[in-house]
């Protein structure tokens, strides 16, 4: 059987693409580079939208990227069930593309924050978190200036009621996000957006002092192999 193929998208200004690709390879999947300017998903089985400052984030974060040629392919594919994980700028792009509800705004502190953050897995009913246990607490790095999740009261209530909050900050909220939300999913569970960076917590030697991020990558592998 050929390896599961996970696309990793590069926009101008994407920064964590090679980190994401490395994490994909670490769990035995194939990382397929996807270029923002191509109308081509290269037949991948899942897509990782990495962090960075696409187009410099000079407008709203992710506001330009959502119109990239690649996104014209990705948006309908995600609606049709293709597993997609967006972290940080990738999460912002998913919100701008309306694949996920709500928005990410300037941190309450008004400062960029890079720290190792305790989070709790609230939902394992997604393509990207099925390898965790519900309620499991893990450590992942956060590093962003605009990660404060906001949504209308109705949207928040619906997310909470539908079990769509995937990851929640515990032991301190780094950005003032509503309901301590660190990550959410769509109703189907194939699209997940996260502010923390699992791709920086996959090796003992480098990055955050944890390998807790691996679970996101083993989850997608499990999902794809069992599909």
């Amino acid at each position: 059987m050929s390896a599961a193929r996970v696309g990793v998208v590069t926009f101008p200004g994407t920064l964590d693409d090679q980190d994401a690709a490395r994490a994909v390879r670490l769990v035995g999947a194939e990382a397929v580079p996807l270029w923002h300017g191509d109308h081509d998903l290269k037949g991948v089985d899942a897509v990782f939208l990495p962090g960075g400052f696409s187009y410099g984030d000079y407008l709203r974060c992710g506001a330009i990227s959502r119109f990239a040629p690649l996104m014209e392919e990705l948006i309908p594919a995600a609606r049709a069930g293709l597993p997609v994980l967006g972290t940080c700028n990738g999460f912002q792009i998913l919100c701008e593309a309306h694949l996920l509800p709500g928005a990410l705004t300037r941190n309450a502190s008004l400062h960029y924050v890079c720290r190792d953050q305790r989070v709790r897995i609230e939902s394992t009913a997604t393509a990207w978190t099925n390898a965790f246990a519900e309620g499991q607490e893990i450590t992942l790095p956060v590093k962003h200036g605009e990660g404060r999740y906001v949504a209308s009261a109705e949207t928040l209530a619906a997310l909470e009621a539908g079990g769509q909050v995937v990851v929640r900050y515990v032991g301190g909220n780094p950005n003032g996000a509503m309901n301590d939300i660190a990550g959410i999913r769509n109703e189907a569970g194939n699209v997940v957006g996260l502010m923390p960076h699992p791709e920086h917590a996959v090796e003992e030697l480098v990055g955050a002092p944890s390998t807790d991020g691996l679970g996101f990558f083993t989850s997608i592998l499990k999902k794809l192999v069992n599909a």
Binding site: P12, G13, L15, F53, H111, Y112, K143, V206, G207
Partner: protein
């Protein structure tokens, strides 16, 4: 509007030129006239004035800096030395590292955010222009007193500028320093370091060989940023148009720089670059004269082809503009299509503005008229050289005589520990460093608050063969020590950076430096500079680490009051197996704690004298470089043999602070006993010392290794528990240490 062409200059030999307004002395101007055999055009004057400025020509420092070459220790590792954009060292397995530190002090005072941001941008382009992929940055920062009003303006802006630019570029910030002293209130220091990696056989140089090769300007368009004196020139020469007031500080666009990085690396990989130079200070003037001078010798440029952000710019302004995110490449005509295609892929504008010639002249035209016609080497390499007078400052002897011996010793050492731990210089810098991305690119093995930043290199460049090696970097510098004795102060800066690299298990290999001083026209400042350079050059020879490059920043003074002389020294080291890196501090319970090196009562320039008494006098600690070298050898060998579980360098605040920081690393306490006078043992700042933690069963082997190298090794105690206990002296819960340490900067800066 009249263009001041060469023809016009020949026909109006007596027209007064505003050389003085551009900072040029009469005799310098006379030399330009002598070189050209006529008066310079406005554009030529623009070129000479910036290229012969202190910043570009090192005219006051050159005669001293030569010692870095003449006294340089032999090193097989040095691939490219001083004089290029950055030095390059061989780090083994076919890999090379290039690194350099550079100041952006004055702009960061005027406009802290953009000043600091463009400081990062500039040093990153220096590294790119060597053919390397930039892989990390770090910053050595000095601010006025934390309690002083202007520090609350400057520091947050500087940190935000570094944070925004560096984070947006995707470069991890892995270390550096933040220190406060009232002497920096009007002259903060922002010294930015970048390190890059490349394959040893792929070094690029700033050279323009091969007549007919094309000169390509690529990156951002040219605007009226950082022009400084050029507007004076344009308006002084051409009275018919009043120039709008130009911003003196450049504005950075990190997104464009990120595109430039990826674009350059693809250009290098495609082998379509013959020579390359970044555009920094002096912009197009510097890039064209330096490239031409180091190549075949001639270049023809049509300045009308330079893409402008502001179409009203005059040629003098185009030549002096310091617009950021620009590079200049020399490209074979046959490679131009491939070059342009790569630039287009990355949305990087690129324009052919001229070509290499064999005329030996740099010739520039503007609307068909020749406005520059000079031998490029006269601007790039043959600037004035000054032997500035210097003498010991009038108050130096009195300063050295005012020793800390008479200062009242504290009765309560526990209170002193907490007082120091919560003081701005020793408190946690997380308020600053949490604003920097330290993880991006996933090669960060160690980052602040570790003693040195460390990166693995095997995955830094896609497709290159794997290696177990890693590099470590530290910057250090203590202005108070240098004020008391600039010769020793510079040596202590090197010794500390060397030690900080060695405690992580990496072998120190090479040095970069940023020399921050007051005005070279003040003989007392010049003495400090001369002494510091002499001290650093001597120390580099003793420690066997060559200087590969760096930067001098003069005129850091307000009125006649200069900053403390502040040589900041960066050391790069290599660890053969990065998995054997030694983390900072107490990493587990039940480990033996040992102090390496001897302690004497050395309090001159110490943090204790500064914090407890506001005192600065006497002499700094002795710099025993042979002891430093032996200590380094023990640490590197012990790490390679897997004998060290953790380590920490001793510096400001002495053993007490090193113990506290070691506890804070993982929240693990320790119980130790002192053998000498407690105050001296705890707070002296004797150099050449480090703390290590060793598994009990490995201790004998480690002690034997120390004995072999004649490095004193004192068993102090054992790690464990929830408090730092110094038997019969003090006991502080780790939680109290943490609150004191982490609360200080947020209390000031929010």
């Amino acid at each position: 509007m009249t263009t001041d062409s060469v023809k016009r200059a020949e026909s109006t030999p007596d027209e007064p030129m505003p050389f003085a307004e551009l900072g040029m002395k009469q005799d310098e101007y006379d030399r330009v006239k002598e070189i050209l055999g006529r008066r310079p055009t406005g554009s030529e004057l623009a070129i000479y004035s910036v290229m012969w400025s202190e910043h570009c020509s090192y005219k006051s420092s050159k005669v001293h800096l030569r010692q870095f070459a003449t006294k340089a220790p032999h090193s097989d590792a040095l691939l490219v030395g001083m004089g290029e954009n950055a030095g390059v060292v061989d780090i083994g397995d076919g890999w090379a590292a290039t690194f350099k530190i550079e100041s952006h002090n004055h702009p960061s005072y005027v406009e802290p955010h953009q000043g600091a941001a463009t400081g990062v941008g500039g040093i990153v382009r220096d590294i790119m222009s060597m053919g390397a992929r930039p892989i990390a940055v770090m910053d050595a920062l000095r601010f006025g007193g934390a309690h002083q009003d202007d520090t609350r303006r400057v520091l947050p802006g500087v940190v935000e500028g570094i944070s925004h630019y560096g984070n947006c570029l995707g470069l991890p910030n892995i270390g550096g320093e933040v220190a406060f002293d009232e002497c920096y209130i009007g002259n903060p220091l922002v010294n930015a370091l970048c390190v890059g990696l490349l394959r040893k056989d792929q070094i690029k140089l700033a050279t323009a060989p091969g007549p007919g090769n094309k000169v390509v300007l690529f990156g951002a368009s040219t605007g009226p940023d950082g022009i400084g004196g050029a507007s004076v020139l344009a308006s002084a020469t051409f009275e018919d148009e009043s120039q709008a007031k130009r911003p003196a500080v450049q504005v950075g666009d990190p997104f464009m720089e990120k595109l430039l990085i990826e674009c350059c690396l693809e250009l290098y990989a495609a082998d379509v670059v013959v020579g390359i130079q970044d555009l920094g200070a002096a912009g197009v003037s510097c890039a064209t004269t330096e490239l031409a001078a180091k190549g075949t010798g001639g270049m023809a440029v049509d300045l009308n082809l330079v893409p402008l952000r502001d179409p009203s710019l005059r040629p003098e302004e185009i030549l002096m503009s310091e617009s950021q995110e620009r590079m200049m490449a020399v490209v074979r005509p046959s490679d131009i299509p491939a070059f342009m295609a790569i630039c287009e892929k990355w949305d990087v504008p690129a324009t052919v503005i001229g070509e290499v010639t064999d005329t030996g002249r740099l010739v520039m035209t503007w609307h068909g008229e020749t406005i520059v016609d000079i031998p490029p080497g006269t601007a790039a390499d043959e600037g004035p050289v000054y032997e500035r007078p210097f003498h010991e400052p009038a108050g130096q002897a009195a300063l050295n005589a005012d020793t800390p011996d008479t200062l009242a010793r504290p009765a309560d050492l526990r209170a002193t520990l907490l007082q120091l731990l919560g003081s701005p210089n020793l408190a946690s810098k997380a308020w600053v460093t949490d604003q920097y991305d330290r993880y991006v690119r996933s090669n960060t093995v160690l980052a602040q608050p570790a003693d040195a930043g460390m990166l693995r290199i095997s995955e830094a460049i896609a497709g290159a063969e794997p290696t177990t090696r890693g590099i470590a970097l530290s910057t250090d510098g203590n202005g108070r020590y240098a004020k008391l004795d600039p010769y020793a102060g510079a040596q202590l800066a090197l010794a500390e950076a060397y030690r900080n690299v060695a405690v992580t298990g990496a072998k120190p290999l090479a040095v970069t430096n940023c020399l921050n001083f007051g005005s070279p026209e003040d003989p007392e400042v010049m003495w400090q500079f001369a002494e510091a350079v002499r001290g650093l050059a001597d120390a580099c020879r003793t420690l066997g680490v060559p200087v590969t490059g760096g930067n001098v920043s003069f005129y850091n003074q307000t009125g006649s009051t200069a900053i403390h002389p502040t040589p900041v020294v960066g050391v790069l080291g290599v660890i053969d197996d990065v998995a054997k890196r030694v983390p900072t501090g107490f990493v587990a319970e039940g480990l033996r704690v040992a102090l390496l090196g001897d302690t004497a009562a050395e309090f001159g320039g110490s943090e204790w004298a500064h914090v407890a008494h506001g005192h600065l006098g006497g002499l700094p600690p002795e710099a025993d470089l042979e002891a430093e070298r032996a200590l380094g050898a023990v640490l590197v060998e012990a790490a390679a043999r897997g004998l060290l579980e953790g380590s920490h360098d001793l510096s400001d605040g002495g053993l007490a602070i090193a113990l506290a920081e070691s506890c804070l690393a993982r929240g693990i306490g320790a119980t130790v006993a002192l053998s000498g006078e407690p105050f001296t043992d705890l707070f002296s700042e004797s150099a050449g010392r480090a703390l290590v933690v060793v598994r009990p069963e490995a201790f004998d082997e480690f002690a034997a290794l120390c004995a072999e190298h004649e490095v004193p090794c004192y068993g102090l105690g054992v790690t464990g528990g929830e408090s730092l206990v110094v038997q019969d002296v003090l006991e502080v819960p780790v939680s109290e240490l943490r609150d004191t340490h982490s609360g200080a900067l947020p209390a000031v800066f929010g």
